[in-house]
């Protein structure tokens, strides 16, 4: 079933060992030279029992080493900022801070989110990783090893643009097989982003 719904990206082929190392090198090089990243995104939440996926969209800003802002604009205003081991939430004007310093789970989710944006996710200690390619994408599929993380995420799939070696789609599959798909559009790399963007 899962493979089926991926018809669009059909003809997935496993990468060879040499392709894997070339791919990793170019992604790491791109990640290293990426100081900032700004992009629009569309998020689709798929649940089997719903007739339609839930679509939300907004803007994302990332600045090295670890400032990240997700800003949902449609159909509601919500922004979440990951900065200095803290999470700042602005929910339509209601502000909330979470200190994730003592939450291992938050830390892992944060790494997952930052990693899926800059592609820095080749951590064999955390994930069992497999590599695939199609005409347009290089694809990594990550299976969490950590028991706590496994309860939230069954598998992460990152789709990398073959042209720019940056992530253009993320699919997070839950243990129930429902998933969230995030598609990035209008990516701009290394544009100047003011630090104030990461203040709520």
């Amino acid at each position: 079933m899962l493979l089926f719904s991926f018809g669009v990206f059909s003809q997935e082929q496993k990468m060879s060992e040499s392709e894997i190392s070339a791919f990793k090198n170019s992604v790491n090089a791109t990640a290293k030279s990426t100081k900032t990243l700004t992009t629009d995104f569309t998020q689709l939440k798929h649940m089997d029992f719903l007739s339609k996926d839930i679509e939300t969209s907004g803007k994302m800003n990332f600045k090295t080493p670890n400032m990240l802002q997700w800003q949902y604009v449609k159909p509601y205003q919500y922004s979440i900022i990951f900065k200095n081991n803290k999470i700042f939430i602005n929910d339509a004007g209601k502000k909330n801070n979470i200190d994730k310093g003592n939450s291992k789970m938050f830390d892992k989710l944060n790494k997952l989110i930052v990693g899926s944006v800059n592609g820095n996710m080749f951590d064999e200690n955390e994930f069992t990783i497999s590599y695939f390619k199609t005409k347009d994408f290089n694809i990594t599929k990550l299976l969490p090893k950590d028991a706590a993380l496994k309860k939230y995420v069954k598998q992460m799939e990152l789709y990398f643009d073959k042209t720019g070696n940056t992530v253009s789609q993320v699919k997070m599959i839950e243990p129930s097989n429902d998933y969230t798909k995030i598609i990035f559009k209008n990516k701009v790399i290394n544009a100047k982003i003011d630090d104030s963007v990461f203040n709520n």
């Binding site: 007739s51 839930i54 209601k94």
Partner: protein
């Protein structure tokens, strides 16, 4: 004679106590004849509809949000799911009449007291047929009183536009939960506020146009 006096005093004291304890919900309302045996809630009753809400929960001064999703999956069953804004499922319940099944809940929220609170809230929210035992009205509302185990639900229906605008869940003497509905068309609730009276819990749901 003295015995009679004492008995009389006790009865009056009891009456006084009972009278002052009676739930205030329909105070100043006129009791009328019951005109329909069952009141059918129009909300969450369409199997073709995905009911998706942005949720803001405030509990003892802490605020958090997420997405609340309801789907009527067959004639008697509803699925109620809560996810983060990113889409991670926090809990997934199945409700059918008085049956309540937890399909999934994350460890951090897996507390009996929390589940029982949510269970009662969602059962009230998703209940479709209310048996009417008494009926009241004032200038603006018709109120249907419906027994719910040892408790009661008072359903407020606006006289003018016939909209189901409020549900008050009570014991014999106290209001426990207040649910207010705002609806444009009387079949979809655009905004719902669940307010608890005995604990500091407020859930606000705003419909997302998908």
């Amino acid at each position: 004679m003295q015995k009679l006096m004492i008995r009389f005093s006790i009865i009056s004291i009891l009456l006084l106590v009972f009278a002052s304890c009676a739930v205030k919900t329909v105070k100043d309302f006129d009791k009328t004849e019951v005109t329909s045996q069952v009141y059918k809630s129009p909300y969450f009753s369409d199997k073709n509809e995905d009911y998706v809400y942005k949720a803001s929960i405030s509990v003892y001064g802490n605020n958090f949000g997420g997405i609340f999703i309801v789907k009527k999956t067959n004639e008697t069953k509803h699925r109620a799911v809560f996810t983060t804004e990113f889409g991670n499922t926090l809990f997934d319940f199945e409700i059918s009449g008085n049956d309540f099944k937890v399909n999934h809940i994350i460890d951090e929220l897996n507390r009996k007291i929390l589940i029982n609170t949510l269970k009662r809230d969602f059962m009230l929210l998703l209940k479709e047929n209310f048996k009417v035992s008494e009926q009241f009205e004032n200038e603006n509302f018709k109120v249907y009183k419906s027994p719910d185990s040892r408790r009661f639900n008072y359903l407020f229906v606006n006289k003018l536009d016939k909209k189901f605008s409020k549900l008050i869940h009570t014991t014999k003497s106290k209001e426990k939960i207040n649910i207010e509905y705002l609806s444009e068309n009387n079949t979809l609730a655009d905004k719902i506020v669940i307010q608890h009276q005995n604990i500091k819990l407020r859930i606000e749901l705003n419909k997302i146009i998908n």
